[in-house]
Symmetry: C2
Subunit: 250 residues, 2 copies
């Protein structure tokens, strides 16, 4: 009763579940509802908001699907901390119908990382640099293990973005990561046997790191772009060899 604010929402065109949905979304955006908060019981909420329980549930369920709510049977509904996985899902859905998604997402990755490393050159703390150095060690150690190596590779680039201190870049990077991950590991599996390649790979990472540690943005970005170019070249060679193999044995 007392909470019957929903009806007084400015946008009267929305009705029922949509109204309740925006009601909670706004409260989440404004920070009035924080992560961990427990919502009232469904029956009480329905009463308070002046809608029936099914309608309320449609809204709550929608918020849950978006990852904003954590509804637990028998316990209640809890506000969940905003997570990049939602973003990733949304991105995946948006990009699903497009062709050449992998190449395309790679471009986004390059975009984020190149800007991130510029920022990192200005903002990275000692801790950030040490973290990256540690990952670099792991990378060198795990050259012969495509699984660990791939993980370290990913961790290296993620640490770069984190060192930028920009949560927006970080969130977007995390969002596109799942799309990148697959090709990342696969590519590594194909190439980890070549000593020449792995050595160049380590050199590239080292150069990026050194430029960052020396706080040289232009140099760092150039090194990073070079690194990506090499990756691109490798992928192309892979494609060619795959095609040739298929041609020989149709």
């Amino acid at each position: 009763m007392a909470l019957d604010i929903v009806r007084s929402d400015p946008d009267e065109t929305q009705s029922g579940a949509a109204r309740v949905f925006t009601f909670f979304r706004d409260r989440l955006l404004s920070g009035e509802l924080k992560a961990g908060d427990r919502l009232l019981a469904e029956r009480e909420l329905a009463l308070a908001l002046g809608v029936s329980r099914p309608v309320l549930r449609e809204a709550l369920r929608s918020l849950a699907m978006l990852g904003l709510l954590d509804i637990q049977h028998g316990r209640g509904a809890f506000v969940r901390a905003a997570d990049a996985s939602v973003l990733g899902q949304a991105l995946t859905l948006c990009l699903a119908p497009e062709p050449n998604i992998l190449d395309d997402v790679l471009q986004a990755r390059i975009a984020i990382e190149c800007q991130a490393i510029r920022l990192a050159c200005e903002r990275a703390s000692e801790r950030d640099l040490q973290a990256i150095a540690g990952i670099l060690d792991t990378l060198v150690d795990s050259l012969d293990d495509p699984e660990r190596g791939g993980g370290a590779d990913y961790a290296f680039h993620l640490a770069l973005v984190r060192a930028s201190g920009s949560s927006a870049l970080m969130k977007i990077y995390e969002a596109i990561s799942p799309l990148l991950m697959r090709s990342h590991v696969e590519r590594r599996r194909d190439t980890f046997r070549e000593p020449a390649i792995t050595s160049r790979l380590v050199d590239a990472h080292c150069e990026v790191f050194l430029s960052l540690a020396r706080r040289e943005p232009d140099q760092a970005e150039r090194a990073l772009r070079q690194h990506f170019l090499i990756g691109d070249e490798l992928r192309r060679k892979n494609l060619i060899s795959t095609y040739q193999a298929r041609e020989n044995q149709p």
Copy 2:
């Protein structure tokens, strides 16, 4: 009955609405459901999927909230083309709790645009270039109108990203656009009276365009970064003058 595939989903932990939700999501991802398709009526779907109508509605409503479905009263539910607005919403929700979002999102914008213009130097078609040139004309024409000018400014940068031919970059750019828009117009309103500034603004855009037309990636990115730097500087001066005004009249 015949469609009772949902129950045989591998993940038995999910129940009811969540199962139906993933059912449709997967069909959307796989392209089995295309934009414009009309779903069966709720009652039929509920029967076919072996769930009650409320449960089905919870799932459909969730998809609608995500922007994947367009449910029309009296007509039916239609698959909607994947839209960047969902992405924008998700991003807004993810970034809501963070401080300094505006600066941060600006960094993401710079990231996207700098990579986009590099790609555009390789890929932009004649049409793309002509479109950008047209917008540039509009920009020059509307120097004294902050509303139109701001719009043209935005259109210019959007056209740059579009010219990259990367839908991923485009989608992400569209997603962060609403967050940028506000500050964009506001800033322009504050500065459009200064002839020196507006002239520099036009020069900057022209230089970016020329570099693009000449297909010089490094040059183009440098011009773009310079453009952003000037914007940053302007914003800082604005902040200072605002602060000073407040100090004089507390």
